[in-house]
Amino acid sequence: MAVETTTRAKLRWGLLDVLVIVFAMVPVLWIASLSFKTPATLTDGKFFPREWTLDNYKTIFDTDQFVRALINSIGIALVATLVAVVLGAMAAYAISRLDFPGKGLLVGVSLLIAMFPQVSLVSPLFEIERQLKIFDTWPGLILPYITFALPLAIYTLSAFFKQIPWDLEKAAKMDGATQAQAFRRVIAPLAAPGLFTTAILVFIFCWNDFLFAISLTSTERSRTVPAALSFFTGASQFEDPTGAICAAAVVITVPIILFVLFFQRRIVSGLTSGAVKG
């Protein structure tokens, strides 16, 4: 009987699992399906394509508009991630390990920024960046991305850092290492998984942004893919851009799917801050 109940329980959980998977996957499959449809079948209203084609992908990779936006997206997100994780790691280490006045203030400020309505920054940044001549440039987007990624980085990393066995640091210091050496030689290697997880979360955040991307850019020079998508017109002005938009959407979704497939455990632990117990 016990066996029977576990089978039934498994079945019930299995059904719930399927429900979640369908809920999560349908919109993604739909846009992928649209991207493979031929222009003739695009408006047939069927969920799966009847005729498959790769033309939409050829179209977008033939246009400068998309390729340029993709390069911008990748470059801007990578630079912002790198800087945010380095600065965030420094601050998170200080917050979780050192005693200094002003610590509470920093934690408070980053909490405030995490909750900050980004649209409130659009108007002043628009004006300031025009004056500084960084409007519509990479740094013009990288700066706000770093700012809004920092609270995320600091919180996630502080949580990771707290789970590191700090006795090792004490031992290193007893052996004559300075605080800075203890950080570099002992703690940094232990913190690497946390850093990596944080980098993924920050990258997803930057990759995702739309508001700053359409407000602080005006040309292909620095427009990222999400922003470019909303200006997409297809190969010629008279072509329906649906297929091209869907193909571009799929291209920028692929890295996210890969991250999620390979690093599900890390992302979940990063977001729940319940990382590996030290």
């Binding site: 699992d17 200094f100 909750m115 649209v119 707290k162 407000s215 319940g274």
Partner: protein, 327 residues
């Protein structure tokens, strides 16, 4: 949440280790200069490590928000730069007596309340599934992360085409076609898109709370004959309360910023603009920096009020309010 610096108590752990190693020394004691040097070095390192992050955050938010207040007190339309002048609170009067502003405010409030409420329920269900499922835990968690990770604009396009007559698989659900051209159905679709995208995030935050529920307690409750519902309300919910409040705070403030989905789905047509959408339109499309900034400041104040109310509710459970104690 302590915004002011309160080094004492905030670092009990660090304080304790120090006390152990420096028993004979008083604070700043001069008899043992090496230790005091050590403390000074620690302070200096602490400031040094935090300075870059703090500088960037303050430079990119504090200064602009102050500048934004300054801009909001001026008549400043980039199409008529000659007419730029200081006009005091006139912009605020203009915005606060404008019906578009209040419509957008109502839409934003509606979307915030409905989506956060639905997400709390769905997110709790999803968190329970991800936490307790007997089969395919990895698979469920992986697929739940996809809505979280996907670019909002991409998801929004998927929903838009799903409801577009002729193209979409969902368009026929409404007999009169074009649901994205009606106000009520547009709002419903915007909320659906928001809920789909952010329920997993809510669920992950709640799952962090679920992980804190002691298994023994649940077993003990079962032995005492508690039903599943009783276990949920009497054992799990109380333990999860801080996690629930954190999740609610983050999601509420995030929902209040709703922009991407509306931009793609309706572009604010049929009175579906949120306050962010309206501010963006005045600013980037209308190039009216004065009015746009005024809206920015008003949104900032609203968010600050929401945050303040939540923090009052939190008490000491605020995230990061006390970092040293949980080691």
């Amino acid at each position: 949440m302590s915004i002011s610096a309160t080094p004492t108590g905030a670092n009990t752990a660090v304080e304790e280790t120090r006390r152990q190693t420096t028993v004979p020394t008083q604070r700043g004691g001069r008899r043992k200069p090496p230790l005091s040097e050590n403390k000074k070095a620690e302070r200096r390192l602490g400031w040094l490590l935090c300075a870059p992050a703090a500088l960037v955050m303050v430079a990119v938010t504090a200064y602009p928000i102050i500048y934004s207040v300054w801009l909001s007190l001026q008549r400043y339309d980039l199409r008529f730069p000659d007419q730029r002048e200081f006009i005091g609170l006139e912009n605020y009067v203009t915005v606060l007596t404008n019906e578009f502003w209040w419509t957008a405010f109502g839409v934003t409030a509606l979307i915030t309340v409905v989506t956060v409420a639905v997400e709390l329920v769905l997110g709790m269900g999803l968190a329970l599934i991800m936490h307790r499922t007997l089969v395919g835990r990895g698979l469920v968690r992986t697929s739940a992360l996809i809505p979280y990770g996907i670019v909002t604009v991409v998801a929004a396009f998927s929903w838009r085409y799903a409801w577009t007559p002729g193209t979409g698989y969902l368009a026929d659900l409404f007999s009169d076609g074009a649901p994205l051209t009606e106000r009520a159905s547009s709002l419903a679709i915007i909320m659906l898109a928001e809920i789909w995208k952010t329920t997993p995030f809510m669920a992950l935050l709640l799952m962090a709370g679920l992980a804190l529920v002691p298994e023994d307690l649940l077993k003990a409750a079962s032995t005492d004959g508690a039903t599943a519902w009783q276990k949920f309300t009497k054992v799990m919910l109380p333990v999860m309360k801080p996690a629930i409040l954190v999740a609610l705070l983050f999601r509420t403030l995030d929902a209040f910023r709703v922009f991407d989905n509306i931009f793609v789905l309706t572009a604010g047509g049929n009175e579906t603009s949120s306050v962010s959408m309206l501010a963006y339109n005045n600013l980037i499309r209308g190039l009216n920096l004065g009015i746009g900034s005024t809206m920015s400041v008003l949104i900032f104040i609203t968010v600050a009020i929401i945050a303040f109310v939540f923090v009052k509710l939190f008490g000491t459970a605020a995230p990061g309010s006390d970092d040293g104690e949980r080691r």
